[in-house]
Amino acid sequence: MKPFRYQRARDVRGAVDMLAQAPHGAFLAGGTNLVDLMRLGVATPDLLVDVRRLACDRIEELPDGTLRIGATVSNSELAADRRVRRRYPVLSQALLSGASGQLRNLATTGGNLLQRTRCVYFQDLTTPCNKREPGSGCPAREGYHRELAILGWSQACVATHPSDMAVALAALDAVVRTRGPDGERAVPLTELHRLPGDEPERDTVLRHGELITAVDLPPLPPAARSGYRKVRDRASYAFALVSVAAVVEPADGAVRDVRIALGGVAHKPWRASTAEQALRGAPATAERFRAAAEAELSAARPLAGNAFKIPLVCNTLVATLVGLADEPP
């Protein structure tokens, strides 16, 4: 581990100022991903600005019905929140399907969003990786990529984003609030993470020193049902091979509205807009769900070792939607 300095920020402004002066520094929240990467030598910040104790630890309801989640709210607290469990079951389920109890106690809302994409070569300093060392090459594309992307990847990178929470937030049209050296801004969650393109080293659109302060959840229509289904190689404590977050608003055997996000398939939570479009106003039947899933996946480009994800996504998406459509109101 490279030696580094450690500072604890008193407030958001102070944290942003500290990092603005340290071009190779990083914010530290729960540290469940960053500290691992530092141990491995993958991340080598020279300054850690600890933001864990900033006053961003509340979940509050805004007058318009939006639920505002402070960036340092832990994954455990967020999953257990009564409002979240009642109104956004997809989010609670996604959180509880991730990591372990100990990790969820430590991990924060902001940190969960900013965990790095995963790939065995990224973690391994003895192999090339365009994300770790831009221009060094991508061994995953023709190597071990069972867990990696089938959608939106580039020649430079085929890694996948590991967060379950972010997939649920993508389906919920969440908005990420940040503060940086240039002031505050609001970024739709679906635009927070990037596809790799030719800059795989950048996982998100955030600029250096920009700090996530909260995540806003807009209210769902009263008739909406939501759920999260994660498929993985073991029953617990594994990243998703494929996951589906869905919000369905049924009406008279048809789909009035639907929002779908997929995990484990791309460099970012994948909002399945093609499938959504195919389903709005359509009959809520397994056949239509399957056709919509296949339409979404027509853009998929599986690698040699992960083609199984195509039928897996289709089957999982259909089963999730059928389950939600059949759920009693």
Partner: protein, 712 residues
């Protein structure tokens, strides 16, 4: 001699339990030493070649760095005969991850940081790490027994090949035939406690606190390497946090730690990281196994052929006994087994729980299931029909063999009679449900090299000294029970001391021979002590106490009987129809392991073996990237071991059957038989649930989904 049983057979709680719960049990890295320095290794980042330049200036200039050890300044070892232990004796690299140096510093963090500052230049040569049965360099093993230290072609001393009758003719003539190939991947042990060596020298004496399955073997290996009289080397290891075979041998890290302590003239602590364990402490080698069976219309096997290709390392030969299980399992007049090694540029494999048996019985017991179906017979009945009366290759009687009892009792307990013969016939909601069975077997030997000293005090207390090992398996408890009965005293009156070469020597905890070997030694010595008290002291321990030391006697029955543990395992499996996810809600095993010393620790051994077998069946796979030549999924996030949520109900029972020939306790090996056959039982249940036969472990969900073809 026979021993009246009081303590043996009772489910005594672990005597070391309270210390472990309180954190008072000391593990290797925790042994206090004066002013320890810490070591972090440098590992090769090429698969094959030479180190041609090493720039250690930046590392050496870091504050608190004491030394940078490389092949250029490493002490010359007295023996470089064992390639795995010949650490830093040349510039050659034989596998990726090989130790090419080490940084020693005041803190572990400094050592690790400085290690990253060392720049290495290599002259790389082409490497080959692909396990294929059609390689043109396959060879028949020679002299691989017990890490090349004993005679015999395979690691366990067995011959590489065996043949009885005319297999090819019998197969050609058979009315029912099976010809199938099964593969198993690399598995890694991943004990909780990482491998650790704490080394210190005083004058010319070396002490190593080392997490090991056998202090005596580790001492002898280190003494040879450093050219020391074994009496000048002490290895200490009272507790081990899991081992599974990876700590039988002391591996290169212990040599490196001892070298480092020599260089810096201080005690050196070296605890491996999890990632380092994927290249430095051995692994279960991958196999490709072809099985051919022939049977008559009545379901009686006429021919069995089991041909194995198993990987070894070019750096050092290691030949695992994969098809040896097939030599003792089923009757058939015509039979053949072969082993061929594929020499790869990979790290050196090692023993892993039921080495060879675990892979071999996956193949054989999967094939038996396929053959039962082909013969139209129930898989339990098919096995019973082919039960041999004597060891089918040697003609020797079995010392005891209750496999049929295990199958029948297991079937009754499991509710096997409710099973339908048709696959993919039972569905509950989204889940396809099936059941499967497999037999288990493991040799039950005794290892030589055991001596026990017992001191009797006039107060009725006895101190029992033998350098045995407790891997977390229960030796502290079970061996105390054996000693108490052999001495005719209570458990409270026995003080056991193990895990230190200052004690009389002992064979390692391995080969399912630990308790059987050490127990025999203890019983022998106790018998002599009691005889001495009776003959010379009128049945009373004299005031000054008495001490007796004796070696373990050979077993005259070993040459006349085939000695094995057996078992039958049943699995219920659920496969999700949409996703292919596999769940195992139920495993049930009935075992024939002779007399059970401690039902509590024995049951834990069997449950642990079965759980590890479940993990082998569904999860574990070291993925080698042929371009780089290393296992790329080398951490616990990517190398999956069964989590709690993967393990449902696991039940282990045994038949009450003392073995009259194995040892004075009547016990048989219990540490490994539990993992043998579990993977086949699960694979067979997956077939029953889905109609899909998975012959390649692990059984991951993609193998149960219909998939599109990818164009490259």
């Amino acid at each position: 001699m026979s021993v009246i049983s009081h303590a043996v057979g009772t489910p005594l709680d672990r005597l070391d339990g309270p210390d472990k719960v309180k954190g008072a049990a000391v593990y290797a890295a925790e042994h206090p030493v004066d002013r320890p320095a810490y070591l972090y290794p440098l590992q090769a980042t090429i698969a094959v070649g030479r180190v041609i330049a090493l720039d250690t200036a930046a590392a050496g200039a870091e504050p608190d760095v004491l030394a940078v050890l490389t092949h250029r300044n490493a002490p010359r070892l007295a023996s470089a005969h064992d390639a795995e232990l010949a650490v830093l004796q040349s510039d050659e690299v034989a596998y990726r991850g090989q130790i090419i140096g080490g940084v020693i510093a005041e803190t572990p963090e400094t050592a690790r940081h400085a290690a990253h500052l060392v720049r290495v230049t290599y002259a790389e040569r082409a490497h080959d790490v692909a396990l294929r049965p059609d390689r043109d360099d396959l060879y028949k093993p020679l002299n691989a027994a017990f890490f090349c230290r004993g005679g015999g072609e395979l690691m366990d001393g067995s011959p590489a090949d065996s043949a009885v009758g005319d297999v090819d003719a019998a197969l050609a003539a058979a009315e029912v035939r099976l010809d199938a190939t099964y593969t198993t991947p690399i598995n890694h042990h991943n004990p909780m406690e990482p491998h650790t060596a704490v080394a210190l020298w005083s004058d010319d004496e070396l002490t190593v606190y080392c997490s090991t399955q056998g202090v005596t073997l580790s001492r002898d290996l280190l003494a040879t390497v450093f050219g020391l009289d074994p009496r000048r080397v002490r290895v200490v290891c009272p507790h081990v946090g899991g081992a599974f075979g990876s700590k039988v041998y002391c591996h290169s890290y212990a040599v490196l730690a001892a070298m480092a302590a020599q260089i810096v003239h201080r005690p050196v602590k070296f605890a491996l990281t999890r990632r380092q364990m994927f290249s430095l402490v051995g692994y279960r080698p991958a196999t490709v196994q072809r099985i051919r069976l022939g049977a008559d219309p009545g379901g009686r096997l006429t021919a069995i052929a089991h041909d194995v290709v198993v990987q070894t390392a070019k750096a050092k030969g290691y030949a695992e006994q994969v098809a040896v299980c097939t030599r003792c399992m089923y009757a058939a007049p015509h039979r053949r087994t072969t082993h061929r090694l594929a020499p790869l540029d990979l790290p050196v494999p090692t023993i892993m729980r039921a080495p060879g048996q675990a892979q071999g019985m996956f193949a054989l017991e999967s094939a038996m299931d396929e053959m039962a179906i082909a013969c139209g017979l129930d898989p339990v009945e098919f096995r019973i029909r082919n039960e041999p009366g004597v060891d089918p290759e040697t003609g020797r009687p079995f010392s005891s063999r209750h496999l049929v009892d295990c199958l029948r009792d297991g079937a009754r307990r499991f509710g096997w009679d409710r099973r339908g013969p048709v696959s993919r016939a039972r569905r509950e909601g989204a889940w396809l449900v099936g059941t499967g069975v497999s037999a288990s077997t493991h040799p039950s030997p005794r290892f030589a090299g055991n001596t026990t000293t017992i001191r009797a005090g006039p107060d009725g207390r006895h101190t029992v000294l033998i350098a045995a090992a407790d891997l977390g398996t229960g030796t502290w408890t079970a061996l105390t029970q054996i000693a108490a009965d052999a001495l005719g005293v209570t458990v409270d009156e026995v003080e056991l001391r193990i895990g230190d070469t200052a004690l009389p020597p002992a064979s390692p905890a391995g080969g399912s021979a630990g308790i059987d070997s050490w127990g025999t030694s203890v019983v022998e010595t106790a018998g002599r002590l009691r005889a001495l008290i009776d003959s010379h002291h009128g049945g009373v321990v004299p005031p000054q106490g008495l001490e007796v030391t004796s070696d373990m006697p050979d077993n005259p029955d070993a040459a006349h009987y085939a000695m094995h543990s057996f078992g039958a395992q049943f699995a219920e499996v659920r496969v999700h129809a949409d996703t292919g996810e596999v769940r195992v809600p139920r495993l049930l095993g009935v075992f024939d392991a002779g007399r059970v010393i401690n039902p509590k620790t024995a049951r834990s051994q069997l449950l642990g073996g079965m759980t590890m077998g479940l993990s082998m069946a569904l999860h574990e796979q070291g993925v080698v990237d042929p371009r780089f030549g290393h296992v790329v999924n080398g951490d616990l996030a990517e190398y999956h071991i069964a989590s709690h949520a993967d393990v449902g109900s696991v039940e282990a029972y045994w038949v009450e059957a003392e073995d009259p020939h194995t040892n004075p306790m009547g016990s048989k090996g219990i540490g490994e038989v539990g993992i043998v056959g579990t993977a086949a039982a699960i694979a067979n249940a997956v077939h029953h649930a889905t109609g899909i036969r998975v012959r390649d472990l692990p059984i991951t969900l993609d193998k149960l989904l219909r998939q599109p073809v990818v164009e490259e």
